[in-house]
Amino acid sequence: MSRVGSPVRAVRGTVARTLFVAGMAIVGMAWLAPAAWAHASLDHAVPGPEEELRAPPTLLLLFFDEPVSLPFSQVTVTANASGGGPNLVAGPLRSVGISGIEVFVPLRPGPTGSYTVRWRVLSPADGHVAQGAFTYGVGVPAQPPAVLPGGAPPIGDDVMRWLIFLGLALAGGSLAFRALVWRPALRAAAVEAGDGGNGADAAVDWNREADWPWFTGAALVGAVVALHAELYAFLASAHAVTGGSLAQFAGAQVQPLRTETRFGSSWTWTTFVWLAVIGLVLTGWLGSPRRREPLLAAAAAAALAAGLGMSTSGHAAAGSAVQMGVDFLHLTAAALWTGGLVALAVLAASPSGRDRHAARRRAVFAASLARFSSLALGLVVALIAAGVYLALVEGRWPATLHRAWGAALVAKAVLAAGAVALGAYHHWRVVPRLRLQAAGPAPGLGRVGRSLAAEATLAAGALLAAAVLTNLAPRA
């Protein structure tokens, strides 16, 4: 005799598992914190901040915590008095060591007074620009640096990185979902319904719309969005180096940045990868159904490979090849998870009472959700494991939380944990319920669709927080 637990106990068990998974996700995301340590920052300087000197210095030494690219770095030293006075830097910046972290700045001697040093450096590994200021005094105590007008937050770059994430998820994630989850579910449903043993071909016969154009549409939108976001993210990074007004920037020469920085070279090849994705999807869409699957699978692989552009030019690029590989795994898992969620949410919304294929569509949806739910479990484990590895390799504990950085990190952890909790709900509650209902009348999927849309929204929100995090320095 089989024992069936009470509904109350089952709900308690689900709640406990959901809370456990959400808690683990928060811990995992918190471990991700140090992955954002790779902004070049000033370690110390000679003369140092707020130092009082007896005689004017003829050189300034700046020590950064990672190598900086001198051709794209600037240092100015000006008097702290009103008006500022001329820049005392007497020649080009030079590196005095082989590590590239020490910068030698020749200075002209100035009169007695307080001086402001403003530095702006490009990290060639992750492509980020860091800047800061400090003061020293000559014959007098150092005064606080004067505040410069402007200095808007890098919101444009954040948004572009988020759009690249979404493009990866929409193009790579949804096409991979089609190949790994939806097509096998379609085939299984066709065989179960007695449409013949010819697998997917038979399935396509019983439902012309089964060759769901949503996937190609989503992949095209994702690829086009990412193609543009890659360009404007590069231009935002270039503007952080060159500065100046929009009119001045329009004429700025960007070829050196493209060829001599990692973010430039990654933009170069990812542009061609996204163009290839668009070409493959269009050819698959217009070509014969027999050739469609290999072309769309190739497009999915190419779109996911475009994520390497972020891994080879982001924070992980400051570390080893293994770190870049793990970062790529992290990104790929996030793209597959988010893209699959969006596809499932749309799939849940498509059945309706007026649709004569509603029952079969519902069966395909239930099978897709069950397959994806198992896959997502592995993806979330990979996501957290990769984050923990990156944290252990790159981290410097205990982290000193920068205010904005800390807020973004907490937001990311909460959003991701919410998505994982909803995923747990779908895995342990919705999938068994749909299995039980398979034999009876088929109620609508509206509620499931809404909860899937909520999970996808939370995952997209976590990606936005991740995009913000990548552009923030964790230390003040």
Binding site: L227, L231, L235, A238, A252, P256, F272, L275, G279
Partner: protein, 173 residues
């Protein structure tokens, strides 16, 4: 470091030759009388190829404005190619369908004019202005031909597009 003038000129020659072939195919097939042909996919495919090529050119552009304008040309050409392809496959039957390519040509001309920021004494800037106006006028003639169906407008459309191809092929660098 910047892309050399010779490389820029080669890219312009390539696009010029591609464009001229497209114009000859398009206008020549339209002028054929008394023959029924299958719809040619050459024009939309060339537009798609040119759009992808423009995006490729944007990567190698020397300045920010060059990169942005080439990417916008790429967008216009890819969108026009996709819509024209759908129209020739019979999937797009909207009244504005035949206007897509002439309007795309005119928009590309507008972008050429926005792109030419140098003084007119500079031959390259002068060529950009000429190419821009050639495309804007070709687009206008194309729209007039679609609306009025008079052969004179078609001849003007084809001649201006051929002139644009010639200007591309002789781009001074």
């Amino acid at each position: 470091m910047s892309i050399s003038g010779l490389e820029v000129a080669r890219a312009h020659w390539l696009f010029g030759a591609l464009f001229l072939a497209m114009v000859l195919d398009e206008v020549g097939s339209t002028l054929e009388v008394g023959t029924t042909r299958r719809p040619s996919y050459y024009l939309p495919l060339v537009l798609l190829l040119a759009g992808a090529g423009m995006w490729g050119a944007s990567v190698f552009a020397n300045s920010v404005i060059d990169a942005v304008v080439h990417s916008l040309w790429g967008d216009v050409l890819l969108a026009a190619g996709s819509l024209e392809l759908q129209r020739r496959r019979g999937r797009l039957r909207a009244w504005w369908g035949p206007l897509v390519v002439p309007i795309a040509v005119a928009v590309c001309g507008g972008l050429f004019l926005a792109h030419s920021d140098g003084p007119l004494s500079d031959p390259a800037a002068r060529w950009h202005v000429l190419m821009g106006w050639a495309l804007v006028m070709a687009g206008a003639a194309g729209v007039a031909w679609v609306r009025r169906q008079r052969q004179g407008w078609l001849m003007a459309y084809g001649t201006l597009l051929a002139a644009f191809s010639f200007l591309l092929l002789t781009f001074p660098r």
